[in-house]
Amino acid sequence: MFIKTQLILLALISVVLSQTDDEESFLFVTKQTVNRFIVQDKDLTVKYGLYNSGPTTIFNVNLNDVLSYPFEKYDILVGTLTPKWERINAGSNLTHVVVLKPKQSGISNSSRATVTYQKSEKNTEVQKTYSSEIGDVYIMTAREYDRRFSSHIIDWVLFTAMASPCIVFPFFLWFKSKSKYESLLSKDKQTKKAQ
């Protein structure tokens, strides 16, 4: 019984080891956003990280993320959604940054980016892999963001303009009566001195 389990275990381990081919490399692609908030008409920065694990160089790497960000919903400000690299060396990390501007607000889902590459320069067999995804995101309207973060100076100027009648009008009344009172007081003093 014990030997049977040992044999099964040994068989499993050998199968697993033979599957992992350490001659070939594998490309991991992560897709993240550096934004804390995604706001309509403000920059949305997406960062793609490509990592070549494994001992060999990979060639002709093409990343395509056009499907996640269709033209009607997003503007591309900086970068390209279809970058390509001739080669990525073994064990090296690459980053690619794309800055988009969402045109609509609400909940939006962006799918994964597709990456194709060749494992060797001569073998044109193309390997396809997918990046991680950001998932459902909530794009807030510019008003919501401004309510929390803008400098509000214009709001305060308007507030002062609206509050000023309440302040200026009584001040003016008081000032008028005060100056009248003071002029009367000075006239009294003058007549008293004269007497």
Partner: protein, 160 residues
């Protein structure tokens, strides 16, 4: 004379770079910093350099090229915190295929420094701002506070 030209006709002569630089400037909107340089290269003899490699902060990475718009090279940097992306100008050296292979073969630091780069561009990052130092509410409170205080003073004079 013509033979020399034949040999060097493959390479890009006296390249001119037009650079579009972007970096995350709003630290309230973004949690990490990211920057990108979009470089367009113009050569005297009209050829495009094949692959370009960029030396940024000591890392030499291949530049991305765009499938949809050829002739543009992209160099991207992403850091984990806003402080890690250096403020001001960072010099990025560019190497083409030849220079890159020379760089890879160089073993000593001196030899690495002796490799002549294909070109040099700058990444300027004005820094990520967290918003104005003093919020506008602070000034509003001060102004209205002063108005209230003057009125209160006059009122106590009248009542006294």
């Amino acid at each position: 004379y013509s033979i020399i030209y034949f040999v060097s006709g493959e390479n890009c002569e006296s390249p001119q770079f037009t650079v579009n630089s972007y970096s995350t400037k709003d630290a309230r909107l973004t949690a990490e910093s990211a920057a990108q340089l979009e470089i367009s290269v113009k050569c005297k003899n009209g050829k495009q350099p094949g692959t370009l490699y960029a030396d940024i902060n000591g890392h030499v990475i291949p530049c991305a090229q765009s499938v949809s718009s050829p002739g543009k090279y992209y160099v991207s940097v992403a850091t984990s915190t806003h402080k890690h992306l250096a403020k001001g100008s960072t010099i990025v050296k560019l190497y083409d295929d030849e220079a890159y292979s020379t760089l890879r073969k160089a073993r000593t630091d001196d030899a690495i420094k002796a490799v002549k780069p294909f070109g040099q561009v700058e990444l300027s990052h004005p820094g990520a701002s967290y918003g104005p130092w003093l919020p506008s509410e602070f000034f509003a409170v001060i102004v209205f506070g002063l108005i209230w205080w003057t009125a209160y003073r006059e009122r106590s004079k009248i009542l006294a």
